[in-house]
């Protein structure tokens, strides 16, 4: 099968830009196809972070919801909504991500995978967050390198 490339300087520049972007997309978004319908909750007070984390999850086909404080997260889960994965920022308004929200969620008997994220990581923060009940602790930004193995594991 012969592939005809477009000719002309202006159009090929644009095609190179688009092709480059497509190639980069394939390269960066380590493609995985999830067999199951996974759901996730993102708890992050910072809008930029929350939007990016949600979109990253959605790009893998994970159904996601987002809240911007700890109390809303606890209320949502207490209402019976089930999630396969919860991504929670260490510092949250209203109900702190570390001490209160994570512990409360675990105390409710929720055993799903919890991923603690934070802008600044130190060993003491890591220990404290793990002790509060998160399964994995990563420093922001949330990237495919960390997320994909977790999604694979949840998918079974």
């Amino acid at each position: 099968m012969a592939l005809t490339l477009p000719s002309g300087d202006q159009s090929s520049d644009q095609d190179n830009w688009d092709n480059g972007r497509l190639a980069r997309k394939r390269q960066l978004l380590t493609e995985i196809v999830l067999r199951n319908r996974l759901t996730a909750l993102v708890v992050d007070a910072d809008t930029t972070c929350r939007v990016l984390e949600q979109l990253l999850l959605r790009s893998y086909g994970v159904q996601t919801q987002g809240v911007d404080n700890g109390r809303d997260a606890v209320t949502l889960i207490a209402s019976g909504v089930k999630f396969n994965l919860i991504i929670i920022d260490m510092i949250l308004p209203i109900l702190n991500g570390l001490e209160k929200a994570t512990r409360q969620i675990r105390d409710m008997g929720v055993h799903c995978k919890m991923l603690g994220v934070t802008a600044c990581s130190g060993e003491s923060e890591r220990q404290a967050f793990l002790a509060a009940g998160v399964d994995v602790f990563i420093e922001k930004p949330l990237d495919p390198e960390h997320l994909v193995p977790i999604l694979r594991e949840l998918d079974g």
Partner: protein, 111 residues
């Protein structure tokens, strides 16, 4: 200037930001998330980030203007800015936040 030329100029400008370390790989990830279902995503998230960052930077400046700086208050703003700048791939800004945090830890107002 026609569209193709403008696109090239934009591409070159973004490329130079990568080379200078203003942007890092995280920004590439975000570019990769833009597709036909989210055609303006990159622009939107940048706008979102800049608006929030501006407010935080104003707060940081305000805090630093006081005779007695409340370093723990300052720290929470810097922490937030570090989080969002690292998420969007604003590498230099993230590094600046780390430096500011260090100076703040040392209660070093001059730093």
């Amino acid at each position: 200037m026609d569209l193709a030329a403008l696109k090239t100029q934009l591409k070159n400008f973004v490329q130079s930001m990568f080379e200078e370390g203003v942007l890092d790989n995280q920004f590439s990830q975000i570019q990769a998330l833009q597709d036909s279902t989210n055609p303006n995503f990159v622009e939107e998230v940048i706008t979102l980030f800049c608006n929030d960052a501006e407010k935080i930077i104003n707060e940081i400046n305000r805090n630093l203007g006081y005779q007695n700086v409340d370093f723990s208050n300052l720290d929470s703003y810097v922490h937030q800015l570090k989080g969002s700048s690292s998420s969007i791939g604003a590498n230099r800004l993230k590094l600046a936040c780390a430096n500011l945090r260090q100076a703040s830890d040392e209660r070093n107002k001059e730093g």
